[in-house]
């Protein structure tokens, strides 16, 4: 059973229904006992980085989350659920993340992007350039389109965790893969056929 962690950072129904559509049972929960029992854990999230860390702490979810990561359970982070795995973010001042991976969360430079006529947030469909194979990308074509909506991106210290890159003014890391962890900046639950395939792959990942 897949546990989707609910910490009041956005609607999780699409994620849950996405899994159900591809034949995987998923529950939305913030109960540590259910998270401990789950075979797979998903950390979604939209909104502000600071609120994300605050809510995870307030709901007592940081330890269950760390536990499931260290137990080697398949883990999927989406959007903020990717960013929060890193050391710190520069969103509205500096915020500490979970520091599972070394690196920073940075904002697209408004001046630089504006010079190129690029708007922020990076909103819409863009391609993923696959840098390393992952079981989650099975049957997903190189250069597939996925849906993004974000103003911040991750800058990992360790290049070996980079799974896909995407270009928007600059080339940034759009997903990472390391051991039992896959986390992406884009939204598989909003990415139609390609996104559902990724969710299908995650549910089948052991």
């Amino acid at each position: 059973m897949i546990a989707i962690i609910d910490y009041e950072m956005g609607n999780l129904r699409s994620v849950q229904k996405g899994f159900e559509t591809v034949g995987h049972e998923a529950v939305v929960t913030r109960d540590p006992a259910i998270i401990d029992r789950a075979s797979h854990v998903v950390l979604p999230g939209v909104g502000a980085f600071g609120d994300c860390v605050k809510n995870l702490t307030q709901f007592g979810l940081v330890e269950p989350l760390r536990r499931s990561l260290s137990q080697g359970k398949p883990f999927l982070g989406i959007c903020l659920g990717l960013q929060v795995l890193f050391t710190e973010s520069e969103e509205f001042g500096s915020h500490q993340g979970l520091d599972i991976f070394k690196g920073k969360v940075k904002r697209f430079s408004s001046g630089e992007h504006q010079d190129k006529g690029l708007k922020i947030p990076h909103m819409g469909w863009n391609t993923i350039d696959i840098q390393a194979p992952s079981p989650l990308l099975k049957e997903i074509e190189p250069e597939s389109y996925v849906y993004f909506v974000h103003s911040y991106y991750i800058e990992p210290v360790e290049p070996k965790i980079i799974c896909t890159e995407t270009t928007y003014g600059i080339t940034f890391v759009s997903s990472i893969a390391h051991d039992n962890v896959f986390a992406c900046q884009f939204h598989p639950e909003k990415s139609q056929r390609v996104g559902l395939q990724l969710l299908r792959n995650f549910g089948a990942w052991n």
């Binding site: 690029l118 947030p121 819409g124 391609t127 909003k190 139609q192 559902l196």
Partner: protein
């Protein structure tokens, strides 16, 4: 490369699609959920619901429609119409909307946009700007002002300045409708669209006036819009989403084609 977005828009009243949708292959073309699923499969990039229900008491019906849509269509959904309070936004997002469009409430209280962006994140706050040209066609440069209540109430606010103000207040996107062109099917207001696109550094969706595929191209190329919203041309199957995308791609715009390739 980030692609330009094609966004069909459905007017929804008391939970039913109005202004007619003439899909031959739908069981119930008045059911927004069924129409949304159709557009999802047709490869639309996003979907927009505009709720024109007069009474706020019927809000529950809209929330049901949004939640059923989010369960069946795995694409971004923007919902607008009658959004007045933070609670309205919270309910729509919890039902499954990805973005919420604010119009009159932003004009009445610009700080509402800031409160909403701080609470829910700037990426889900769209400000709908309804603009009408107030200079005569011979006057140069042209000027546009903001109208509320479906174009009936003038506000005296300059549209370009207003769009910049809304960006500063925390809007993540501008949904720009030309009240002059809306429903005319003879093209988007290109000078207005280009002026707003140049003035802000957030994405702009052009709306009002689509009648041909060339109109879509003009709004994206000349108007510099990031996305185009259209209703009738898609609902009446004048053109399919796939035809529009093939055309726009052939004109050299970055477009996500329906088969998944650029």
């Amino acid at each position: 490369m980030l692609t330009k977005r094609i966004i069909p828009c459905l007017d929804v009243k008391d939970g039913r699609v109005v202004k007619g949708v003439s899909f031959v292959n739908l069981r119930d073309a008045g059911d927004p959920v069924e129409v949304a699923t159709f557009y999802d499969q047709a490869g639309a990039d996003e979907l927009c619901f505009l709720d024109i229900t007069a009474s706020h008491e019927n809000r529950g019906i809209l929330l049901d429609v949004v939640s059923h849509t989010a369960e069946q269509a795995f694409m971004p959904l923007t919902v607008g119409g009658g959004v007045r309070t933070l609670d309205d936004i919270r309910q729509l997002l919890n039902a499954g909307a990805d973005k919420v469009s604010i119009n009159t409430a932003a004009v009445q209280n610009p700080d509402f946009v800031t409160e909403a962006a701080n609470r829910f994140g700037t990426q889900c706050i769209v400000v709908a700007v309804d603009a009408k040209q107030v200079t005569s066609p011979s006057e140069n440069p042209p000027r546009w002002e903001i109208f509320t209540h479906g174009g009936r109430n003038p506000t005296g606010l300059d549209a370009i300045e207003w769009a910049k103000h809304m960006e500063a207040k925390g809007a993540g996107e501008i949904l720009l409708t030309s009240m002059d062109q809306d429903g005319q099917q003879d093209g988007y207001d290109l000078p207005l669209t280009a002026a707003v696109s140049d003035a802000v550094s957030i994405p702009v969706i052009a709306s009002g006036g689509a009648g041909t595929l060339e109109h879509l191209y003009d709004a994206l190329a000349t108007g510099k819009a990031d996305a185009v919203l259209a209703a009738s041309i898609f609902h009446f199957l004048t053109f399919s989403v796939a035809e529009a995308k093939t055309y726009l791609g052939s004109r050299g715009l970055p477009i996500r084609q329906v088969n998944g390739n650029e």
